[in-house]
Amino acid sequence: MFTFEIISQQVLNGLLTGTSYILIALGLTLIFGIYRMINMAHGAVYMWGAYFCHVFADTIGLNTYLAMAIAMVLAGLLSVGIERTVFRPLKGCPDWVALVAGLGLYYALENFGWIVLGPRELHIHALATQEVVRFWGLYANLQKVILAGICMATLVGTILVLKKTDMGRAMRAASADPEAAKLVGINTERMSMLVFFLGGAFAAAAGSLVGSLTSVAPGMGFRPMIIAFVIVVFGGMGSIMGTVVAGLLVGVLQNILAYAVTPKFAYCFTMLSLLTIFIIRPTGIFGEDK
């Protein structure tokens, strides 16, 4: 039952699950880095991104990945709209205020989803979901491999932009010290809009790909959002490398638990183990001490 092949297959599945979490969490991390706020409406952007992709891929009939790109832009704009209307007025408030407001907005957007999407589960048609890749005696769904590839490309792209370009330097400056950044002429408001746009786009990419593997439904965003949110905390709030490692760890942990205990309680036990670590080290595995 616990042979080497099975365990390594579970670890691989976990790593692939982890990449979708990383894509969602990356947006949250960028937003947290600049905004010092936790965007609880992120899961709704993820769901709407998947829905936009469904509309362009299945209703209109575009290529799945082109549809995904359009969905990323639309979801990015939705995310920017959220920043302008809800989070900007809340800047400087206690942290939990943004948390409650984000949750309220999440429920509004999810329930709006119930009206637009209807009670049926929608699907995103993608050929790659039916293909299986084999290597070293392991199996992986091609769409999941594409998801991992997109996640890696996004990560490398984000890190390059942050480290090498002027815009990235401005973003890091706005994150390190918003006041000083303003003084040297960085438009911090534009930076906030940019991170919200990127965050929304990444979430839509994850939503579209996960949606094509399972289905698109109004409530699909809540758990991934909570998991992504926990990953951001574990990654040390605002650290990209921390987010990546924590995302992969959580994915593997969840898959191993689903196999070893029971799939029903995998989520529960994952959260329980994370809560335990969280209580011992509140600043995350990679965070600095308070």
């Binding site: 942290d95 509004a108 329930n111 709006f112 009206i115 909570i226 809560l275």
Partner: protein, 314 residues
């Protein structure tokens, strides 16, 4: 002082007379509101007075509801004993949990309780042999055997008076608690935790006691809610439920004994009127939460303070 007593007397009289005039559905709704006030008052003690914002409170309410339901269903206890044991059990859970989760503070405490709320919800939903899964459990109605009066079956009227008796006991008890040394100490913890510790407040003990009391009231509310509705299912105890309780105490006004009253009535009335919106109801509901957070964080009590130029909050 006498004026205050007069006001309290008038309020009590109004509450006593309402069922005589109001239609049945209003009395029903007011009874649920009463249960919410009990839970929200407990959350207000933790969040408003001590400054620890819990995002998992609906999970604690669930512990009370399920424990009480299971004690009556599987162990044949009476509702009264079951509800009491369930409340105490929830308090004990809070006390033990406090040892761990109160190591966190500020936003970290909120995140910790949010994760905990998800864990509890997931247990209610998935542990079908015990909790009945998504179908939930049916709870038998309580009965009261009094000497000389025989068996009293619990109809709507009995529920109404019983719940509001508890509401006034709870609010009275909280008033004594807030005015006591304990109350001053937890407010000191909210204002500056390390300073109050250096001034000799045993903060760890105070914090766990406060969480335990808050959980006790949540458990009590849960037990009442389950028996009153005759049914317990996981959806009442999700993060959405916790968000609702936080919204109640914020709409009402944090750190005020009247706050949960105002908040619960406003939210219940709103949800009543929002029924006409049909499937748009929850969308508007969510937007109202956002609106309150942006524009009305000081709540109704804060609004009254600016009108009457008097402090109602601590």
């Amino acid at each position: 002082m006498t004026r205050e007593k007069l006001v309290i007397g008038a309020v009590l009289l109004a509450y006593a007379l309402i069922p005589a005039f109001a239609p049945e559905n209003i009395v029903h709704l007011m009874t649920i509101t009463g249960i919410w006030i009990i839970i929200a008052s407990g959350l207000n003690l933790l969040t408003g007075y001590m400054g620890y914002v819990s995002f998992g409170h609906a999970g604690f309410v669930g512990i009370g509801a399920y424990t009480s339901a299971l004690l009556t269903l599987k162990f044949g206890m009476s509702f009264w004993a079951g509800a009491l044991v369930a409340s105490l059990f929830t308090a004990l859970f809070g006390l033990l949990l406090g040892v761990a989760i109160l190591r966190l503070s500020g936003i970290y405490f909120s995140i910790g309780t949010l994760i905990l709320g998800e864990i509890l919800y997931s247990i209610y939903y998935n542990w079908s042999p015990v909790t009945g899964g998504f179908m939930g459990l049916n709870v038998p109605p309580p009965e009261l055997a009094l000497p000389f009066m025989g068996n009293i079956s619990f109809e709507l009227m009995q529920w109404y008076y019983f719940v509001y008796l508890l509401v006034f006991l709870v609010v009275g008890g909280l008033k004594l608690l807030i005015d006591s040394h304990f109350g001053k100490e937890i407010i000191a913890i909210r204002e500056n935790e390390s300073l109050s510790q250096s001034l000799g407040v045993n903060i760890n003990q105070r914090k766990s006691q406060c969480l335990a009391i808050s959980c006790f009231l949540a458990g009590m509310g849960g037990a009442l809610f389950g028996a009153f509705m005759g049914h317990v299912d996981p959806d009442s105890f999700s993060i959405a439920g916790s968000t609702e309780f936080i919204t109640i105490i914020i709409i009402g006004g944090l750190a005020s004994l009247m706050g949960p009253f105002f908040g619960a009535y406003v939210l219940i009335t709103l949800s009543l009127y929002l029924e006409v919106l049909g499937k748009w109801r929850m969308v508007v509901y969510g937007l109202i939460i956002v609106f309150v957070m942006i524009y009305a964080r000081s709540g109704i009590v804060g609004f009254l303070e600016t009108i009457f130029k008097r402090e109602f909050r601590k």
